[in-house]
Amino acid sequence: MRLGLKEKARAYSPWIFHAHAGGCNNCDIELAACFAPRFDLERMGIQLRNNPRHADIFLVTGPAPKQIAPILRRVYDQLPNPKVAIACGSCAITGGVYNRDDKKPNYAIGGPVEKLIPIDVLVPGCPPRPESIIQGIMLALEKLRHR
């Protein structure tokens, strides 16, 4: 597959901003494992940046409680275009254990995250294993390349 220099650079050096929106912290631990020796994502030039203005990929974990929901949107807007967003874990996708009954929704949950920001890739699992997070990032890169 031949790529132009722009698409190549975009696919080769994505920087991730990790937004923790509530939740039990387990997805965050699995994400940290992606950057630890075993799954080292820096092999592919992927870096974890704790600054939304530097990042290309917006990775959300957690069910986004009502208090965090507007802030999540604001932080998403701080990423310069082109950008993609990943919802990582069951909580971010559906509300997970925090929203067990759809007929009686949890009063504190402002999510799922898809309602708040445009999400491109969903990574299911409670928590998702590092392998599936890496696959999610690779799928996100496919989208980022054509933005």
Binding site: M1, K6, R10, Y12, E42, G45, R53, H54, P80
Partner: protein, 334 residues
């Protein structure tokens, strides 16, 4: 000084490009070596064959990919910032650094380095970079940017003293302020690394502060103050800042090699032979700096200031005293 010829103009335009690519290789080395020391892999030098379709063949130019990616992004301006200053300060730093790169000899090749005061010019131009960062951080109107600028200013006061004193003790020993002349003096005799190791150590430590590597990355302390002066920068303006940092690595390492290792010249060998030795010495110096970067935690700003006054400044001053003593006792040597 004779009038500049076409060759000298061409070489001074060509040198910044060479030092940019050197900086990219040094930047890759910093990332790779620090990853290896943390028992990670780091950016692949050779991507495994099964992944080459999607991930490319090599990641040797990883910092270059980062820069190109950032150049293709939009840059957001914070609504509260002083827009003109915020937008122009990365370009000020870029101009300073490109001109400094034209003055810094790469493996003894530089026409501008033979100018009588080239060492002073390089040191002043390098001072322009932290100034531009301070301006940009303060203009961004973000608390992180302002705290970063303040720390940058304090750290600059701390590392600039040993850097200048160490550079001038070498100038004293060589009896010249021209970088080319300093290289020529070493080429016939011993390199200044052996004749004045005190100044060499002080200079290396000052460079580590200048490049914001680990014990002294106080201004850009990630996790602590987000990214310091560069917090609000994104997209194209951040790309300019990354380019400036790439240049800065190459210039600082090149200046160290020129001042202390004879610009890669080995006595008794041809001038052309200095190119591989220059590369080797550059990679070695970056290796040492990366080891310090990986194995150390971060200083607090007050600790960094006090440490800089206590150790490298004292070393640099004793290097200067040593240089005068050397000139007094071995006048035939110079």
């Amino acid at each position: 000084m004779e009038l500049p010829s076409t060759i000298s103009i061409a070489s001074s335009l060509f040198l910044p490009i060479v030092s940019f690519f050197l900086g990219i290789i040094y930047g890759y080395e910093i990332r790779k070596v620090s990853a290896r020391l943390q028992s990670r892999r780091g950016p692949w030098l050779l991507v495994p064959k099964s992944l080459r379709g999607t991930l490319g063949v090599t990641r040797l130019f990883q910092p270059l990919y980062d820069i190109i990616k950032l150049l293709c992004k939009e840059s957001l301006l914070p609504s509260t910032s002083t827009k003109g200053l915020f937008r122009s300060s990365p370009y000020i730093a870029l101009i300073c650094v490109i001109v400094a790169a034209a003055f810094t000899p790469v493996a003894t090749y530089s026409h501008l380095a033979s100018f009588e005061l080239s060492l002073v010019v390089i040191l002043y131009l390098l001072l322009g970079v932290p100034f531009a960062f301070i301006l940009g951080g303060a203009a961004s109107a973000s608390p992180w940017g302002v705290i970063g600028s303040q720390r940058e200013a304090e750290l600059m006061l701390a590392y600039e003293t040993p850097l200048v004193i160490a550079a001038f003790s070498i100038a004293t020993m060589a009896d010249s302020l021209s970088v080319q002349k300093i290289i020529d003096v070493q080429a016939t005799r011993l390199p200044f690394l052996l004749l004045n190791p005190l100044a060499a150590v002080a200079f290396l430590v000052a460079i580590i502060g200048k490049l914001h590597l680990k014990p002294f990355d106080v201004p850009e302390a990630e996790v602590e103050i987000v990214a310091g002066p560069v917090t609000e920068y994104g997209g194209r303006l951040l790309a300019i800042i990354e380019i400036v940092k790439t240049f800065l690595i190459a210039i600082c390492v090149g200046l160290f090699i020129a001042l202390f290792l004879a610009g890669g010249l080995v006595p008794g060998y041809d001038k052309l032979f200095s190119i591989p030795t220059f590369l080797l010495e550059g990679l070695l110096i970056v290796l040492v700096m990366t080891m310090i970067h990986t194995l150390n935690p971060r200083f607090r700003i007050d600790q960094a200031l006090i440490w800089y006054v206590r150790v490298p400044t004292i070393l640099a001053i004793s290097g200067l005293v040593w240089a005068y003593a050397f000139r007094h006792f071995f006048p035939a040597f110079i």
